[in-house]
Symmetry: C2
């Protein structure tokens, strides 16, 4: 049977393939229609050449015109996704087993179109690029497109982090770059639909046809070669630590910036006062967050720290009850089911004992029991690395520490994480311990939460969906939150004594749209640059 | 004889050394007084532990208090350098052979104290950290100290890029981090004096004693281990490509951010109209820039592109005359003299012919003849990599191209550079070719200049002293220009629903100093955050 075409150099065309694959419905195990190519290097090579051509066209556009066109593209793409949402949601549901409602139709797709529109607004407004003018010496600088961006989407968000429609995609395009999307092989059909709409919007926006390209799958060595190619401007990757670090090594060696969003176990500390005050409510809150979406979120709370005592035991019993009562949804794949089992066993081998769960469930679907494990603080401190193994599912490890001092020791051993949460009482009894533990947790996480679970990631300029290595590759960047996300896909370009009519519009004396914030002589301003 | 002590963990103490070295006067070849240790790993290990302790103390300070203290430190340090300037300049002159006046006393030292004061002002004012508040959902984020920063200073700037006083040092401290300075072994005594004044200022500012530490030298394997240690927050390096890329590989593999400022040949294009209009003046301007400081600048113009013809030949003859007439100053070291000779030979082996120079000069001093080489465009295109070898001295390769098309082909083969200059005529005849070539040059350089030589690097917020790989490791960052330079040494920290009195002062509703720019609900503001 014929393979699905790839989107290369402005057309849907037959792949040069080294093999093929099909998606399966994780809820039933059934193989789904459509056979997709594993692209040979020739496809990646063609994509890079075409993307390089598109990047040159984009760079040659006046910056205001480029911003207008990419904004038009992003807005049109969002409208097109909405118009085709039923079909897209149906196929994503088949390929991922994620619920159509509310998850896919009411949460993730609106989030995705919202991101596209926020990216469009950021591009149009222009302040994201931090235009900076020193009028006295006629020195001006601005962040400008970095060149073709390769975006690898993850398995768990078929839309919002998709290489062909998600946050990295939107940010890279808004910054003025072409994107080579690498689909996640678990949902190739969904990615195809997204890319079809993106491609149609490209034409409507007057942008180069190779602005968006799509490859479904690559041999690992081709992936490494792709991210280290000199034609690449930057890379965005969301996925597993193992795959991400392999790509990072290749990109780093070639001097290509790569932005990774990898695994995270998102520690949650329940201080004693909070447990005493509202333990039952916290058990409900925690279980709800940990069970959400089968636990397949990068912000899933996978490590819980509690001070030993009755309140902790009540909490654990209440969580166990909720874990046992909830029916696990199908996981995204049989591979995910298998690796979740391996992670749970790794935690057990390192000393964790099962509170509940710990085994795969029978078909239909790739399911795994909601799983709670526990260790003492001393056990954790004896094997802190292994006991930070990410178990990608509705799974959490409870670390029951002797006292605040042991809690501090546990926190001091934590790797970099995306988030860290601290729950404390309202009366203030927890405050001294809060201060001590927050000081330890703060530098180890990108987002610190109070009395709140980490699973919601608001799309806000103030969000940080990032964190210290190995949660990401660089603690200064976020994968969510315009306009900061755009700056990852940009290079700093300085103009020294460049003649006025040769400057980017954003760096000329007049403020081009009267809204753009520019740093003029050290002060942020929406006005013109007057002095010389 | 006894070795000079290192500055470790708040005291000048005997190194654990694997060897020792002495500096030499490059003007005379004489060995200078003072024997300096090559530190064993134990010294680096102790420095890392002490720096980690200092980083924790700094993080624990309220952010406004931390900013005040680091600003006090930076200002006091600048004052102390000025008070001891005669001694410092004298020793730097002995160790580098750079002229006392104007270079060391009137240019580089004032530049260095200016950088320290700009860093202090940036720390106090606070906007560098891009505080961002989303009042509707109580989500707030800010750039915060990344942790201990290791700074490797280069051979060519004993003050302004020094690990113990230069731009990376000032930026890392202003961002709230301790610094482990690695001296350049060509000027250990100068670095010692700088570190003595820094250490004295630490005490005056009420900062942890290990805020500044100094190691003179390390075995290469210890250097690699140092930059990849998990206790390190980030690394700043200015120096050779070979050494920098080795450190980058080690830091990257460990997930430690490293900022490099490496080699650059800084292409200069003289368009035909400019040469016809003012060829003699351009020859003077170019020769002045290329001969400045013995050509030992990272922004030295090392590659010149000219369109073949009489004007080009007149220009070359005029430059040759100036090169021949100027007496070369001593280079920084015999090693530098040797490697300059190797680079010139590498260019010759790749097809370049000598216009003038091309040989070392006899003692006293490590000198090398001012050297001009030339190739045709076709020759360049036959060996573009080898013909981009950096020759660190008063040396330039002239590429005489047939026409604009060949000039474009040459530019399309350029590696990433710090700067690129285009000279064009005033009447506008060069404009079409300018447009074509600027489009090619722009994405390959960090700073694009018009009708200007690249050797002046103004310390301005609008400066970009950076560029695409391999000029640096990441094209989004600059090594000069507050406040952007501070952001390299920071991690993004988000506060999600954190209680008001637990927030950094900069993220509370009130604007702490009434001057700090904060992004509140998408708008830059110096006011309080009112809405909730």
């Amino acid at each position: 049977m014929s393979l699905q075409p790839v989107l290369l150099a402005g057309q849907w065309r037959a792949a040069q393939s080294t093999g093929s694959f099909r998606a399966a419905n994780p809820a039933t195990g059934e193989t789904l229609p459509g056979e997709y190519p594993v692209s040979a290097w020739a496809d990646a090579d063609a994509a890079l050449t075409a993307a390089g051509g598109s990047a040159a066209i984009l760079r040659a556009l006046p910056d205001d015109e480029r911003a207008e066109r990419v904004a038009r593209f992003l807005n049109r793409f969002a409208e097109r996704l909405e118009a085709r949402s039923a079909e897209i949601v149906d196929l994503a549901h088949l390929e991922t087993a994620l619920p159509k409602k509310p998850r896919l139709a009411d949460v993730e797709l609106p989030r995705t179109t919202n991101q596209l529109r926020q990216a469009a607004a950021a591009a149009l407004e222009g302040s994201w690029a931090l235009p900076t003018i020193d009028p006295k010496i006629n020195l001006r600088s601005i962040l400008a497109p970095i060149g073709p961006v390769v975006v690898f989407g993850p398995n768990n968000f078929p839309f919002a982090y998709s290489g062909a429609a998600g946050g990295d995609f939107a940010s890279a395009i808004a910054a003025g770059n072409p994107v080579i999307a690498k689909a996640h092989p678990l949902h190739p059909g969904t990615t195809r639909l997204l890319a079809e709409e993106a491609f149609a919007a490209v034409g409507e926006a007057g942008l180069p046809a190779a602005l968006v390209q799509l490859l479904y799958h690559l041999e690992p060595e081709s992936g490494l070669r792709l991210v280290s190619d000199p034609r690449v401007g930057a890379v965005g990757f969301t996925g597993s630590r193992a795959a991400g670090l392999r790509l990072k090594a290749a990109a780093d060696a070639a001097g290509r910036p790569i932005y990774l969003e990898l695994s995270s176990i998102n520690p949650v500390v329940f201080l004693p006062g909070a447990l005493a005050e509202r333990g039952a409510k916290l058990a409900e809150e925690f279980a709800g967050s940990c069970l959400l979406g089968g636990g397949q979120f990068c912000t899933n709370p996978g490590l819980v720290i509690l001070l030993a005592g009755d309140a902790a035991e009540h909490f654990i019993a209440a969580v166990k009850q909720r874990f046992d009562a909830a029916t696990p949804p199908p996981l995204l794949s049989s591979g995910g089911q298998r690796s979740l089992g391996e992670s749970v066993h790794a935690l057990q081998s390192a000393g964790a004992s099962l509170v509940t769960g710990g085994a795969p469930l029978p078909p239909p679907g790739c399911r795994y029991a909601n799983t709670l494990l526990r260790v003492t603080g001393a056990q954790f401190l004896a094997a802190p690395d292994k006991l930070q193994t990410e178990a990608f599912g509705s799974t959490a490890l409870l670390v029951v520490v002797r006292d605040g001092k042991e809690a501090a020791a546990v926190l001091a051993h934590l790797e970099g994480n995306l988030t860290g949460s601290l729950y404390s009482d309202t009366a203030g009894a927890d405050e001294p311990l809060y201060r001590e533990l927050a000081a330890l947790l703060r530098p180890r996480v990108g987002r610190l939460l109070n009395d709140k679970m980490p699973t919601g990631v608001a799309v806000s300029p103030a969000m940080n969906h990032g964190g210290p290595y190995p949660a990401t590759g660089h603690p200064g960047f976020t994968a969510v939150g315009m306009p900061a996300t755009l700056r990852r896909f940009a290079m700093l370009q300085c103009y020294d004594s460049v003649r006025p009519d040769r400057l980017p519009v954003a760096l000329r004396d007049a403020n081009p749209n009267g809204r753009m914030w520019r740093l003029i002589d050290g002060q942020w301003s929406q006005g013109p640059c007057s002095g010389k």
